[in-house]
Point group: C2
Amino acid sequence: MSSTGPKRPGAGDSDASAEPAALQPRARATRLAILTAAAEHFARNGYHATSLDSVLADSGGTKGALYFHFASKEALARAVIAEMVQGWGDLRGHISRPGLDPLAALLALVDEVVRGLIEDPIARGGTRLLNDLPRRARDVGGHYGRGERDAAALLGQAAQAGLLRDGIEPALVARQIVALIAGHRQICDAAADRHSLRQRVDEAWTLLLPTIATDAWLATWRAAKPG
Amino acid sequence: MSSTGPKRPGAGDSDASAEPAALQPRARATRLAILTAAAEHFARNGYHATSLDSVLADSGGTKGALYFHFASKEALARAVIAEMVQGWGDLRGHISRPGLDPLAALLALVDEVVRGLIEDPIARGGTRLLNDLPRRARDVGGHYGRGERDAAALLGQAAQAGLLRDGIEPALVARQIVALIAGHRQICDAAADRHSLRQRVDEAWTLLLPTIATDAWLATWRAAKPG
DNA sequence: CATGAAACATACCAGTGGGTGTGTTTGCGT
DNA sequence: ACGCAAACACACCCACTGGTATGTTTCATG
């Protein structure tokens, strides 16, 4: 009971992601192992159906290691989401290439997101947690809203660059794109066939792009895309 | 242990929905009360976070009543899904009005589905269960696939009636429509604002319909729709 | 090499929740 | 009225799980 013990990073105050950044390399490795194993279990069985014991069995860690790094199961889940969000943030810089118009950048961004939703356990677990976590524990609507704003920003730049048809509202289209991805991911997940996500999103683009983009942009795009 | 007891409808064989249809009116009432309360809890907290004690407290029933009608918690959840699916089946007949072209019928069908996703606890709980239920317990991809086939059928009729533009593939568009609805529902649910679902789906139509429907159909549609 | 904190390991606890066994009421046929 | 099954009520069980308390190892630092 005495508070003479060391202030453990996970059991600290109530902020979501402290990340003391003073972790020894071994600690970072075990933390990542637990986080990844947890994300995989969350992606497969959801939040409540995932037991910490099973996660620890897969990760090779123990209860002590877990509760040293994370204050609770909920904090562990939030850490998975935070890791996913950070990955999406890093993705922005990874996309920007010179000579890439805003619309093509949006295409590339979505492609990377889809890639993560298929391959990356963190992204797969995180997206599922957005719906499985109890309401108070998830930043309500914040993550989807951010995706919508990011897409709307790129679409706004595309509109100013004259790449979009007249009357196309960036915010509206952005909402549809995010919903499309979320919906297809959900359907693929329900069918246990997440690899078909790429094809479904490609089909969505073939239907959506002629609606929003100018003929000139479509011509250059069709000329540039493989196949 | 002796098998002299009555064969209880829920605890019967392994088929999903026996529905003995010989239930006394009181039994049907309690069954529906439990089913509805369970659907509400499933919709709010998901499958695993829902305790049978809490739904029984809400429904007024007891463990005895529950396990008389349903063999297990999983069977209860499957019954909610089955009820939702049956409601969607009945919806087909409820839509068909004379003088309604296939495309308008699709619009009406989607509108009724959206209405159910906002108001009907069975539909709200059932859709959530499609993702929360363990994989073996949910008809993998069957329900979404059926929605896609239904939409594709109506779009096929619309194409044959000359209501769609050239080059529009019914199956492809149907997949996008189902994904759109599923995605928007998911986003609205995450934001705890399910009433905005109608507006979001309306926005999707304003973006999608000009792409797939002929100008003639759009003219009559814009003339007929309120507002 | 001593020392204290960081980074784990292990045994254990207490609440919870799905499921069961048995008793009790309701309703229907005769 | 009587019997019997349907339809429920209630007490109980126990496996499981998140969390904790305490002991043990690793590592940086002087």
